[in-house]
């Protein structure tokens, strides 16, 4: 059973407290949204959950064991992170880049085999980049690079997806297509998805749980239906918010 447990998690950056004794259990089959103003610590929280930084105090348990007990490779087999920005210092093709997602599943002395290639092509097809496999990855547009990064992550096939602004650079159609893709993984394969987003209405539509990072270490977390209210959002962004009824449920608009 996929499970990520935060016990009294405290994260500091310099003198700022980003999260203060956050306790929460996140389980497979759930999709969590992380909302917060700029600099509230959404990215830092995701990176800490991925074990890239040590937390300041508290414990993170992945499937019941502390994350420190896993090797990098074991972590990468279970947990994958979509970064906010993508870079590559030397030109690689789209196919070479997406193949890198298989890295944690291949022993260091072996090369990618036919099965890895098949999985990679299927990941490219899922994001609609299969026709571009021989293009140089650095020559893609911003949105295409974002989809390539998403394909690489799908190819990594972890149990837990941590997504830092997955809708970045994507046009409206692609935003829905990509988020539908992750929603299907959560529903059909019982995966856990945690995504930091700026679009409250995407969170409302796709996430059944939310963490609101209010700043100074304060946070509210729980079911979307209970936590995502105009009142809480007004406090979160420091800007008055209204709620109106939309086709998929409530819609939040700034006043």
């Amino acid at each position: 059973m996929t499970e990520l447990t935060l016990q009294a998690l405290t994260i500091r950056r310099g003198t700022r407290v980003l999260s203060h004794e956050l306790t929460q259990t996140l389980q497979g089959g759930e999709c969590w949204g992380v909302l917060g103003a700029n600099g509230a610590g959404k990215t830092t929280l995701l990176h800490t959950l991925a074990g890239l930084y040590p937390d300041d105090s508290g414990t993170i348990l992945l499937n019941g064991s502390t994350v420190e007990g896993y090797s990098r490779r074991q972590m990468a087999q279970r947990l994958g992170l979509l970064f906010q920005s993508h870079e590559s210092s030397f030109p690689a093709t789209v196919l070479e880049t997406v193949l890198q997602g298989r890295h944690p599943h291949i022993p260091s002395w072996k090369w990618e085999d036919a099965d890895d290639l098949k999985k990679s092509l299927s990941a490219l097809r899922q994001v609609g980049l299969d026709a571009m496999q021989n293009r140089s990855a650095t020559k893609l547009s911003g949105g295409e690079q974002q989809r390539l990064a998403i394909a690489t992550l799908l190819n990594q096939a972890p149990e837990i997806y941590l997504l830092d602004e997955p809708s970045n650079h994507l046009d409206l159609h692609q935003q829905i297509k990509i988020l539908d893709l992750f929603a299907a993984q959560v529903k059909e394969q019982n995966k856990l998805c945690v995504m930091a987003l700026h679009d409250v209405n995407l969170v409302q539509r796709y996430c059944d749980h939310v963490i609101l990072m209010l700043g100074e270490g304060n946070s509210i977390s729980g079911k979307t239906s209970e936590v995502l209210t105009a009142e809480n959002l007004t406090r979160l962004y420091g800007h008055p918010m209204l709620v109106v009824e939309g086709p998929h449920g409530p819609l939040f608009v700034p006043r």
């Binding site: 890239l52 990468a76 994958g80 870079e87 690689a92």
Partner: protein, 325 residues
């Protein structure tokens, strides 16, 4: 795949061919067939002596130095995620040069001179490592800046030493600085290191590829990036120190050959590193052969030749590749 296979075959033949050309050319012209006999210890006694004691060790030393510089350059480019990086960018050769010039001023030569250069290179390596590491932070930009600043410092010390050196010693010092393969070297150790370096590159290659995505990105894909980067730094430093100890600071090979190979083969380090090592070795053997024959009996510093060959070759390939990349 087919194309890569042919390219490797070509590079292997180039390696063997360059050494054969090197041992057959010189003031005493020895035909290829005669040279082949001489390697095996047969044929003309004078030929045997010239080839076994002079030309073959020198050609093999050139090959090892070229290969090691190329490997070091390619690794530094990956480590610093900067296409401008070369083996000398962090001042390893600067440290070696200061130590070597001091040794020359003290009248040392031969093994003692080489030992000083090696110690200087290792001291520079440790200095950069210690200063860039600081309190646990070892970011790429900090490493690069520390190295570049220290390299500038070494450069100033080199200028100072040249300024105060007696005129009789200046040509020898300048030759060392430009790179020179004329001291009779035993290439065994460097060749062994080159072979190990090529073998290391294969299991490490995929992680190196992933490192180009960024450090945290690599870590989240399961690469132990901190350990990997320490490893790359130490290996690249050791390769550079060995090369510089044998032949002074030969420029250009370590910067240009990795890029040349990337243009031919793409940037997958598992294919790139072995091919680059072969190409770098062969090119330096050819450059050194030219350096000692072109205005014989005078010898040119091989560093001048590497630049003369490397600059146009690289520019031509860059122009040719501009269309389809």
């Amino acid at each position: 795949m087919m194309r890569n296979g042919l390219l490797y075959l070509f590079l292997l033949s180039l390696a063997v061919g360059s050494v054969l050309i090197a041992i057959s050319s010189g003031s005493l012209n020895i035909g290829l067939a005669q040279a082949w006999l001489a390697i095996q210890g047969e044929g003309d006694a004078l030929h045997q002596q010239v080839i076994q004691q002079l030309r073959l060790p020198r050609a093999l030393a050139a090959f090892a130095v070229g290969g090691l510089l190329t490997l070091a350059g390619a690794l530094m480019q990956v480590l610093l995620r900067n296409p401008l990086a070369d083996p000398y960018v962090l001042g390893i050769s600067g440290g070696a040069a200061v130590a070597a010039l001091l040794a020359m001023l003290a009248g040392l030569s031969g093994v003692l001179l080489q030992g000083s250069a090696f110690i200087g290179a290792m001291l520079a390596t440790i200095l950069v490592f210690g200063l860039a590491h600081g309190k646990g932070q070892w970011t790429t930009s900090r490493l690069l800046l520390t190295g570049v600043v220290l390299a500038a410092g070494w450069g100033a010390m080199i200028s100072f030493l040249l300024a105060i050196a007696p005129t009789t010693q200046l040509p020898g010092m300048l030759f060392w600085l430009m790179g020179d393969l004329s001291p009779n070297n035993n290439p065994t150790w460097a060749l062994g290191l080159l072979l190990l370096g090529i073998l290391f590159a294969l299991p490490m290659g995929r992680s190196l590829n992933i490192l180009s995505r960024g450090e945290l990105q690599a870590q989240s894909l399961g690469v132990e990036q901190a350990k990997l980067r320490y490893g790359i730094y130490l290996l690249a430093s050791l390769y550079t120190a060995t090369a510089v100890t044998l032949a002074g600071s030969i420029g250009f090979v370590g910067l240009v050959v990795p890029h040349l190979t990337r243009l031919l083969l793409g940037s997958d380090n598992r294919r790139l590193l072995p091919a680059a090592a072969l190409l770098g070795g062969s090119l330096l053997v050819l450059a050194d052969t030219l350096a000692r024959t072109i205005i014989a009996p005078q010898q040119l510093p091989v560093g001048v030749l590497t630049a003369l060959i490397g600059v146009p070759l690289f520019l031509i390939l860059l122009q040719r590749n501009r269309g389809h990349d």
